[in-house]
Symmetry: C2
């Protein structure tokens, strides 16, 4: 499916390392412990290791990163390399794009999700206690380097969380990729054949390049993300619901509210049943979910915005519903009870 | 000198107010008390009033502004209007450019400094406790509206602080403006004839537009600012040294270290003597000043960067000195003692 390999990533990294006056690395404790042997070339560089988890994507840790950059005397001609999952690349991108009004940054994602989606978008951000990703910038990394071998230490659950975003990109913009993913339904097959990761990354990059500020085509990559973000932020703990898992349910919900009946709906309902944990949200949580949806960045004029597929690979449709319509839908979408309570 | 007036600003404001789904205002206690009667049109809008002073330009108040924006339910189609001096426009620009990854913002500067310089640059920022303006973005306001009548309540000292930046822009890029400023040496004359404010603003805007990211001509608007920022940040209290005053001494220092001998040097030495308070810094502070200069955003490769004029109105020259050279210069530039100690 693709001729890209981690060898080409390695070569690009070597060139980049020679192009800056100073370079610093941002990573987290897990990546440092489990993946660092893949990155001998980075070992001599100043490295800040942060705790794992979504709570690291905060103003508090942004201040720690900014201070680290200045304590290592990074200038406007320096580079920050973020090695990690979405938390680290989002935080690193935000801090680099605001340190001295912006220095270059490079992403080396260590999760499937980062490789196929999160690291490419030029969306940086941190969370406020009143909303996910509410503070951030649009700024592109100088490059995103993919080393599929680092995924070996990732659990199947984390791996699948990224596959969800590859499905999302494929259904909107790449029919061949969707056919490939459908033809390889087992996580073991997807772990073996890594070409689809590069292909999903390239598709995402192409859409972002053509529509950086999300005025047009890029909006369709938000498929599943209005409900998804609300689910994820409400649960607030990725032991119970990861980003990709929340988006998987969000895609299902957005197809249902749009009454989308294509073959992908049936496929997806099945795929979610087989591959995703049960959604730990029920009808009693509707008000809290609505609170988050109403404050979603994509909304305006008090309408809730959702995306649903059109023809496969040919983009999507953006639909708007009133809060009342959205609430009524959620009452039918969410079950009466959940198998385990939200912690 | 100019046909622009506050009437044209008023008309532009009326159009802008109709172009957004929601609008919020950021201002400070002084402006609210002294200038609000000039802005009846803004009174019905949601307004956050912050304390005066440089310490408001912090992460803490940025969090307060972000929270205010979401509590007023601003969306990506909303506008933040900052009405105030550099603290308010820098903070407002930073928060707007990072709220939901960037919403539109408009500046209504209430100081001479803001009108001629600070509000136009697209430089937003907050201070870290380890450096001024070290966190920020490059993002242009949708417009900068000038109402010279609000300067009536500004002290002469604050007024002159802005005149310094007009001189700086003029000596680099506008010989006619420099001739005008030299021909009107009294603050009363400059308060009466407000056309030069619009002219200085237009000159600054033109330079910024041609070189937004400061790769070329715009660098010369940093004239006086490497030393100036270090002086200002070291003193750390604008009762003792305001931004424009620090820049006035910075311009003097940067001409001296560059051994610039043009007529403007003699004029400026005189102007500073007559119009600026005595610099509250002496030789015993050299190490602390150097600490700040070495960390200046404009530096790279461990050299200190300064700007000095070339031919009047024809841009400047950027010069680099080693820290040792810079330190030796400061030993000669700063006096043995200061008339009053730094608080």
């Amino acid at each position: 499916m693709s001729s890209s390999t981690s060898i080409s990533s390695q070569k690009r990294l070597e060139v980049i390392l020679k192009s800056y006056d100073r370079i610093a690395i941002l990573t987290d404790e897990n990546v440092k412990a489990q993946c660092w042997h893949h990155f001998d070339i980075l070992s001599p560089l100043s490295t800040l290791v942060l705790p794992i988890g979504e709570s690291t994507k905060s103003v508090k840790y942004a201040e720690e990163v900014w201070f680290f950059l200045q304590s290592k005397e990074l200038t406007r001609k320096s580079l920050l390399i973020s090695v990690g999952g979405g938390v680290i690349t989002d935080l690193g991108g935000f801090c680099a794009s605001t340190y001295m009004r912006g220095i270059d940054f490079l992403h080396i994602p260590t999760t499937t999700l980062g490789m196929v989606d999160a690291a490419h978008g030029g969306k940086t951000g941190i969370n406020a206690n009143w909303g996910k990703n509410m503070i951030g910038t649009f700024q592109m990394p100088v490059d995103v380097l993919i080393f599929p071998e680092v995924l070996n230490s990732l659990s199947n659950r984390h791996f699948l969380s990224g596959v969800v975003e590859a499905f999302k990109t494929a259904v909107m913009f790449n029919k061949d990729l969707l056919d490939f993913l459908i033809a390889h339904p087992s996580v073991l097959q997807l772990r073996e054949k890594t070409g689809w990761i590069f292909e999903a990354a390239r598709t995402k990059q192409r859409v972002v390049k053509d529509d950086f500020r999300e005025n047009n085509l890029r909006k369709f990559l938000n498929f599943g993300h209005t409900f998804g973000h609300a689910f994820e932020h409400f649960v607030g703990n990725d032991r119970f619901l990861q980003h990709g898992e929340a988006v998987a349910y969000g895609m299902l919900a957005e197809m249902q509210i749009a009454e989308y009946k294509g073959f992908f709906y049936d496929f997806w309902k099945n795929w979610v049943d087989e591959n995703m944990p049960i959604l730990p949200i029920n009808k009693s949580h509707v008000d809290e979910i609505m609170y988050r949806i109403i404050r979603d960045k994509k909304n305006s004029n008090s309408l809730c915005t959702f995306v649903t597929p059109r023809a496969i690979g040919a983009g999507g449709v953006e639909l708007k519903f009133t809060p009342k319509q959205t609430q009524n839908f959620l009452e039918t979408f969410l079950p009466q009870t959940t198998p385990h309570e939200k912690p």
